[in-house]
Symmetry: C3
Subunit: 152 residues, 3 copies
């Protein structure tokens, strides 16, 4: 009879669940940032949205550079945060050391916060590239540990 | 020794699993809707796809408004349904009241069905905005309850 | 007292976790392929990225056909691999036959590898369409089995 790993009594799962939640909330915040940018720039994606702008200058455009910058940032979050959540959830099942696991979760989360700051200010490159690479490497590290434990 | 939460014997998990599955199937249906729209409008994304259209008018375009409308709807589903599944899965671990949880899952699912109807007909705004906001608020509510339970 | 399903001692979960991990790694590889294509074609999405190219011909463009092909492939992975992981994770909870489950996971993974080869070479259609359809049908099959088990 085995003790379940996926319970908040398991410190590794509780820490994972916390960082998965705040990383997901950070990703969801990009939706609000996109809406805000559309109103600021009067740049809407659909004809029926123009009335929301209540501004004579509101227009339909899919190429506003500031709106598209936020949207690329959002998509980049999806491309990186969703894999982190999937791999992190499976990584919990190998019962890693709580300290090692926590540092992976923390590093990933803060790398994505930094990535967004670097993307939106924007900071000169390679700032954003470094933010991306650290998060990517953290998820890869968990994936490799998981696969090694699976075949041990 | 703790009882596992992630089993269909747990009513909250069973309800979550049902709504997560049908929300994911709804999201997957957008792929088929995109393909259908590409054939209807003879608007394909790749040169090699034109032969599938078997129509002299088939062309490569990334700017057909009807195809792009379906694709934005699909991406909006990904931006909202994937966070719902992640946050909902973690929310199960705090062992919420079954009734409260079920209403969150139901509200989210129907808000996304309404969002798609409002996007594709389209209905006048703020219909789609309201559909989006209700789903978003539902996921936020689960996230807040989860974080409060974690730090209690 | 029920035995947890989500443990590596459960062969179905261990097999799922393996294929979910390598499918996610395959999806993550598309990020690197996009970066590589941007450097090869000197086609960057942001003005601040041009300095990374260190080439007088580096330019900002969102319409390079080769870069956009890789990006559509990446988005198609997200649209299909994320649903596979969600539905597959829930499918484990119905305790399916290990052999049946393993063939679903394997078929899905190899259909996505074939889809990417067909997209990037590219192979003549309907190669890519067949790769897409097999993966889609595999996820649908797990969803249907899950829903049937839930209402049995």
């Amino acid at each position: 009879m085995s003790e379940p790993f996926y319970t908040l009594k398991n410190e590794v799962f509780a820490n994972f669940a916390y960082y998965a939640t705040i990383s997901t909330l950070k990703m969801m915040a990009m939706s609000l940032l996109t809406s805000r940018e559309r109103f600021v720039k009067n740049a809407f994606a659909n004809p029926e949205d123009i009335q929301l702008g209540r501004d004579k200058q509101a227009k339909v455009t899919l190429t506003d550079p500031d709106v598209e910058r936020v949207r690329r940032n959002h998509l980049n979050d999806i491309e990186n945060i969703v894999p982190f959540v999937i791999i992190g959830l499976l990584y919990v099942s190998i019962n890693p050391s709580s300290t090692t696991a926590l540092w992976h979760f923390r590093t990933f989360f803060f790398s994505r916060i930094f990535h967004t700051i670097a993307y939106q200010l924007p900071l000169p490159q390679p700032s954003r590239a470094v933010g991306f690479a650290i998060g990517y490497a953290t998820t890869m590290s968990m994936a490799i540990q998981f696969l090694r434990a699976l075949f041990k």
